[in-house]
Amino acid sequence: MSNNKLTVIDREGSTHDLQWEPDQTLMEALRDNDLPVLASCGGTASCATCHVFLEKEVFDTLAERSEDELELLVDAEGYQECGSRLSCQLAFSQDLNGVTVTLAPEE
């Protein structure tokens, strides 16, 4: 499988183009490319520090958020009902090639 391309808008509004490798979750792709994604809990859907926004068209194609994920997101800074995801809960998929991801504000 080849890498996905990924565009990231950071908290200052700057844009970064990254490679998203097939063995990475979205959180890992962000963190391992040195974006300021804290991922305190290491990807166990328990800290919400990997919160990102997706475009609605992309968001709508994804499977439902788990109860654990939603529980954290609804309390997270800037929560968007049709856009917020924990990036650690998004596995690599070729359908996500070329998407744009915006880092959510930090608490």
């Binding site: 040195d34 809990c41 290491g42 109860e67």
Partner: protein, 425 residues
């Protein structure tokens, strides 16, 4: 919204007036021969798992008296997990103002800012760079022990390995080792006094200041040398004005202390489990990849951190018991990890079980920062023990001595004497 099932139950004031407090631990009918669970261990809780089992069944929210305040212990898996996911209700800022720059003592937003400083150095990618070094050191400490037919798994192996690894991470010379170990123990005691009302050693304040002075000199050097280590990174943040001198020194100290005792005990526990299930030596020798299963199950079954301190910011009901706002709470991840409601037959070590969701490295925003490093050290150790040993037994003449005293956080062996026999193919 479907989140309701996992939410904490807020207390409905209108129905319940001031709720009755549950009895104290020392007022409960503990089984014969089991001393009531205490806030400060007096030697009856060195291996606390029998207490935990009784608590999960009979007092899942246990109130214990201490000279300073009541302390509430929470032991069931679902309850501990929920609390760790709710930092706004179960706050980590148990001392206000926070006396030392230790991550475990902060809530967001300060927690987030400070954790960001060190987080990059601890990602799995960053830690992988240390693998060769850890492996080399592990051989270095294990081989003489095997040649001698055994020794103390703590003093001869676990301490040297964890100290040399954390020293490498901070980039302090291995020759300063003894000094660092002493300081780190003393700093632990000083912190316990400030943050947890522990007793202290009498010399801990003086030693802590010496430690900080040493760390300042070290950071000056790392800055000059443009060191790529965690220490170097913290030094640059300080020189660039992102951290104060106080914060920078204390963060270094914290990383050091946090990584030393915890890992030492986990490594010693790996020896212990091999002595209890010797067939695992063969299995892992033949399938080294199973070392990963061993280590996750070890963190579940004999994890190091027994308690996580929190303070409630509002009244909250847990397992049918109402805990008042401002209560000092100790979450017991090590008790939760053996809850058979989550892990069937939870009191048994079984490397083939599904360990997903265990709390051995915490859960939530305060999850262990050092977990990738601790896992690396322990996996390497488990692989090497299996590769090199035909047998590992406890020394019958010298029983396990448990950590106790000031250090209630981490439970496990202070000395663990083993007899080792080389594997002959």
């Amino acid at each position: 919204m479907s989140a309701a099932t996992t939410e904490l139950t807020p207390v409905d004031e209108s129905l319940s007036g001031p709720a009755a407090l549950p009895p104290y631990s020392h007022e409960l009918a503990w089984p014969d021969g089991m001393a009531p669970f205490k806030v400060v261990d007096d030697g009856t809780q060195g291996d606390p798992y029998a207490h935990y089992a009784w608590m999960r069944d009979n007092a899942p929210v246990l109130r214990a008296a201490s000279p300073v305040s009541d302390v509430w212990f929470i032991s069931r898996y679902d309850d501990v997990r929920k609390a760790m996911r709710a930092p706004k209700v179960f706050s980590s800022q148990v001392v206000d103002p926070v006396p030392l720059t230790f991550l475990t003592l902060f809530d967001a937003p300060n927690h987030t800012r400070l954790r960001q400083v060190v987080a990059q150095a601890f990602t799995p990618k960053a830690i992988a760079r240390f693998e060769d070094r850890v492996r080399e050191n592990a051989h270095k400490y294990l081989d003489p022990m095997i040649a001698a037919g055994g020794g103390d798994a703590v003093d001869d192996y676990a301490i040297p390995l964890s100290m040399s690894t954390i020293s490498a991470l901070l980039d302090v010379p291995a020759s300063d080792f003894e000094k660092m170990k002493f300081w780190s123990d003393e700093t632990f005691s000083y912190f316990g006094r400030l943050a947890r009302n522990a007793q202290g050693t009498g010399t801990d304040e003086q030693s802590t200041f010496e430690f900080f002075a040493y760390l300042k000199d070290t950071m000056e050097r790392l800055y000059r040398e443009e060191s790529e280590s965690v220490g170097g990174h913290i030094a640059r943040m300080w020189k660039e004005g992102l951290l104060s001198e106080k914060e920078a020194k204390e963060l270094c100290a914290f990383v050091f202390v946090a990584g030393h005792d915890t890992t030492t005990i986990l490594l010693a526990n790996a020896f212990r489990v091999f002595s209890e299930q010797p067939e695992l030596l063969d299995r892992i020798r033949q399938n080294p990849a199973d070392a990963n299963l061993f280590v996750e199950e070890l963190a579940r079954f004999r994890g190091t951190v027994q308690r996580a301190s929190r303070i409630t910011t509002e009244d909250v009901e847990v397992a049918g018991v109402r805990i008042p706002a401002g209560a000092i709470v100790r979450l017991l991840p090590a008790a939760a990890n053996r809850d058979s409601a989550k892990y069937p037959d939870g009191e048994t070590f079984n490397i083939d079980r599904n360990t997903d969701g265990h709390l051995g490295f915490g859960h939530g925003v305060h999850s262990c920062l050092g977990a990738p490093l601790a896992r690396l050290e322990t996996v390497v150790t488990v692989e090497l023990l299996a590769a090199k040993l035909g047998s590992l037994t406890l020394n019958n003449d010298k029983p396990i001595e448990y950590v106790r005293g000031n250090n209630l956080t981490n439970s496990g062996p202070e000395h663990l004497y083993v007899e080792l026999e080389k594997f002959n193919a």
